[in-house]
């Protein structure tokens, strides 16, 4: 029953999406485009999308094992939270979640479109066309409501795409992939990432509509500014939580492995970061119009590419959880997006040709250009490094691999240059920055940077690259804080108390100060990445029960082993105390463990972490038996700072969302007028 209703929902959404695409196109060509004519398809899409997702979740929660997806990815004993997460943990479900979000976003965009707004109407049509692809995928290659037609043991031996086929149910399901059902973050990280991915459909749709209608000014950019920012915030949070998940679950003690799928998630973030910066340049200075079209198309294409890489199995990766015929379909869609968009762009290129009013490279826009160059180079290199093994294999048949050493060597110098550009650019004036102004606005930062680097050196840091990162972070933070205090100083001298003066500075330009808070977060994140990779201590020690060992001033004592049976898994663990360096006072007791999933024949090392203001002490069992165990003891200085810095970045983004919408509208008209005058 649920399968029939669910599949029907998908068909409703698919038909509505097709109607939206066609109607959007037709209505946008009428003299007075009326979005009311798109109301039925938009609501049909939303109802179908919400319906498909809800019915899949109902199927999962009621253990309807006639649905093959439910039988394969959940079991009777699966805990509630992972049942819920199973709705998006595997391929077909993740497409349903994608469709749900796209449908809801389309409806939200529809609410902003007014009568006579041809651009908005056509953008809705483009979103409809994108939705046709995703719901088409659900109706065919990635059907989440395939039913089980014959059972072998607890497996579905045969399935049928038709929900009307005579269905049978295995007595119990197989259950979720152990790696995905081992930590609560897995329930949160993918939806956040997906909101980010799907969110970029909106600026993409407006860009395509603007190109199609030759409305090449900045209107599409203003209207999608907030959407891009929302998508960027979610993508940032999603990547951050992915790193945290990896740190808490994978047991090797890192948060980033330069794995192809991690790279695929990072790529759209990199180009989107470039885009939200270059969009500001277009809004303020009417420059970079062609470049913004390019960046938004690339970002959208990279979200599809990321899904393709995760879901097609072309590149071996720990995250590539599923293999299927979905790969070629996604690849075809990617090709349509890339060739279609750039084809359209090429046709309009002569008209887009931006009028570059670059007064000086030493200016806010100059530094943002440098940021864009470095970000694009970073993104390109990650993409090239990820695909390089495929290319070499295609041309020579030889197998090669590209991993951490290559990506580290690329990203460290780029991070240095980016921080340097950020330190100068964040406070540099637009148009032209004279040497005097530049010096006035960066001298505090230069001093703070040099002093912090000297202090770090005095504290015992000997790595030149880490000292460089710390110094540059001090430079960035010093400049931004000094500029903030300087700006607020005017209001303070005008009679306001300091707190009120600082507050009014932020309120006067939430877009700018939100950005600066995100920049502070980036600087802190750079420091945390530096300390946790350069200063990390990794040891593996043999311990018998009752024995203790001192690592980096932490006394680690093996108290006792324990084991128990939990739903779906056997737990074998060790109670380990962390004491002060004299081994007299207990400061924490941790229970690192091994989770064995008998049904999957898989053992997962589950680490435990003790966080202090200085270090994370990370314990992970390498081997354990009756006599004792081998315990990995890893110490990561300032690990908490990375998660904190990530939250600061997200908070900055949220503040920037509060930018008064009308504030730049006069600039917009001015920008467009200049552009028309040039044409």
């Amino acid at each position: 029953m649920i399968a029939v209703a669910g599949y029907t929902s998908i068909l409703v959404a698919l038909v509505s999406a097709a109607a939206l695409a066609v109607q959007g196109w037709r209505v946008s060509h009428t003299p007075d485009p009326d979005p009311a004519r798109l109301k039925i398809p938009t609501i049909g899409l939303a109802v179908g999308g919400i319906g498909a997702f809800t019915l899949l979740e109902i199927g999962i929660l009621t253990h309807d094992f006639t649905i093959a997806y439910v039988a394969k990815n959940t079991a009777l004993a699966t805990p509630f939270i992972f049942l819920l997460a199973a709705g998006w943990a595997a391929l077909a479900g993740s497409v349903v979640l994608w469709g749900l979000m796209l449908a809801v976003f389309t409806w939200l965009v529809w609410r902003t479109v007014r009568r006579g707004d041809g651009l908005g109407v056509l953008a809705l049509g483009v979103m409809g066309a994108v939705a046709v692809f995703w719901f088409g995928l659900m109706a065919t290659a990635a059907n989440p409501f395939e039913v089980c037609t014959s059972v072998a043991g607890s497996f579905c031996a045969e399935t049928s795409w038709s929900p009307l086929a005579a269905a049978v149910a295995p007595a119990d399901g197989v259950g979720p992939n152990p790696l995905l059902a081992n930590h609560i973050l897995m329930a949160v990280h993918p939806p956040l990432l997906y909101v980010g991915y799907v969110g970029f459909t909106v600026p993409f749709a407006f860009a395509i509509a603007a190109l199609t209608r030759s409305e090449l000014g900045s209107v599409w950019l203003y209207r999608t500014h907030r959407w891009s920012l929302v998508a960027w915030i979610f993508l940032t949070a999603g990547i951050l939580l992915g790193g945290w998940w990896s740190y808490e679950v994978l047991g090797w003690g890192g948060y980033w492995a330069w794995d192809p799928v991690e790279n695929a998630a990072l790529l759209p973030w990199v180009t989107a970061t470039a885009f939200i910066h270059s969009a500001v340049v277009q809004q303020r200075r009417s420059m970079l119009q062609a470049w913004n079209f390019t960046l938004v198309i690339i970002t959208f294409a990279l979200t599809i590419f990321g899904t393709f890489l995760t879901r097609s199995g072309v590149i071996a990766s720990v995250h590539a959880f599923s293999l299927s015929a979905v790969g070629p379909t996604l690849l075809a869609f990617l090709a349509v997006v890339v060739f279609g968009s750039f084809g359209l762009f090429a046709v309009r290129a002569s008209a887009v040709a931006s009028s570059p009013r670059m007064d000086s490279l030493v200016s806010r826009e100059g530094f943002i250009l440098l940021n864009n160059l470095l970000m694009t180079l970073f993104g390109f290199t990650i993409l090239f490094g990820t695909l390089y093994p495929l290319l070499v294999e295609a041309f020579t048949g030889r197998e090669v691999a590209v991993g951490r050493p290559f990506f580290d060597r690329i990203s460290v110098p780029l991070a240095f240059l980016l921080l340097l550009a950020l330190g100068f650019g964040a406070t540099a004036p637009w148009r032209v920055a004279t040497g005097r102004v530049l010096w006035e606005r960066t001298r505090v930062g230069l001093n703070v940077g040099l002093v912090t680097a000297a202090l770090a050196l005095a504290a015992g840091v000997r790595s030149i690259s880490l000292l460089g990162i710390i110094g540059l972070a001090g430079f960035v933070i010093g400049n931004i804080v000094a500029f903030f205090v300087h700006q607020s100083g005017r209001a303070h001298r005008g009679g306001k108390p300091w707190i009120a003066a600082l507050g009014s500075t932020i309120r006067s330009d939430k877009g700018y100060w939100g950005g600066q808070i995100a920049h502070l977060g980036m600087a802190l994140a750079a420091v945390a990445i530096g300390t946790t990779s350069v200063l990390a201590v990794r040891t593996e020690v043999p311990l018998a029960v009752g024995e203790s060992v001192v690592v980096e001033g932490y006394c680690i004592q093996y108290l006792e082993p324990f084991s128990r049976t939990e739903p779906e898994r056997n737990v074998q663990g060790a109670r380990v105390a962390i004491l002060d360096r004299t081994c007299s006072t207990t400061r924490a007791v941790l229970e690192p463990r091994l989770h064995e999933y008998p049904k999957f024949g898989q053992v997962i090392t589950t680490p435990r972490v003790w966080t202090t203001w200085v270090d994370d002490v990370y314990l992970s069992i390498a081997a354990i038996d009756a006599e004792g165990m081998r315990l990995k003891v890893l110490v990561f200085p300032l690990q908490w700072l990375l998660w904190f810095a990530g939250s600061v970045i997200v908070a900055g983004g949220l503040l920037a969302l509060g930018r008064k919408p009308g504030r730049r509208s006069s600039a917009s008209k001015r920008g467009d007028r200049i552009e028309h005058a040039d044409a």
């Binding site: 990766s317 390109f380 390089y388 020579t396 197998e399 090669v400 691999a401 040099l450 201590v537 053992v603």
Partner: protein
């Protein structure tokens, strides 16, 4: 603080900091590298031969555990990083390297991004020059 004293601070503070940093880095020897850090560095730059895109450091397979132990042994036996990497290449072929050597096809891996960098720099300076040409015409 009088203006003169203020500008002195702007000179003295960075000068002292720079002098301190330079003096320390000049004299400071970083000491022999900790063998565990070396082992981890090697393990992150070698691919686990039977895994899906994981390094020896990241993999939890038994083979990866054995190979990590092998790295520890070789370091204890006094082998250099280069010698240990050669051992792995001899045993598992060049695909075990997560950092492809910059010879032959490996050149492409570095040359293409550098080409993109050069094109980007050229484009930015192009933006600036086009502007200059235009203002000259305007004048």
């Amino acid at each position: 603080m009088p203006e003169r004293a203020k500008s002195l601070v702007w000179l003295i503070v960075p000068a002292v900091a720079i002098a301190f940093i330079v003096a320390n880095l000049w004299s400071g020897d970083t000491g022999p590298e900790d063998p565990e850090a070396r082992a981890y560095g090697l393990a992150t730059s070698l691919k686990c031969p039977i895994c899906a895109g994981e390094s020896l450091a990241g993999s939890q397979t038994d083979l990866a555990k054995d190979l990590r132990a092998r790295i520890d042994e070789e370091i204890a036996a006094g082998k250099s990083d280069g010698e240990i990497i050669d051992l792995f290449v001899a045993a598992y072929g060049e695909q075990v390297l997560l950092d492809p050597p910059s010879t032959g096809w490996g050149v492409v891996l570095w040359a293409v991004p550098l080409g993109v960098l050069a094109a980007g720099v050229a484009a930015i300076f192009g933006l600036k020059r086009k502007e200059r040409a235009r203002t000259e015409v305007d004048a």
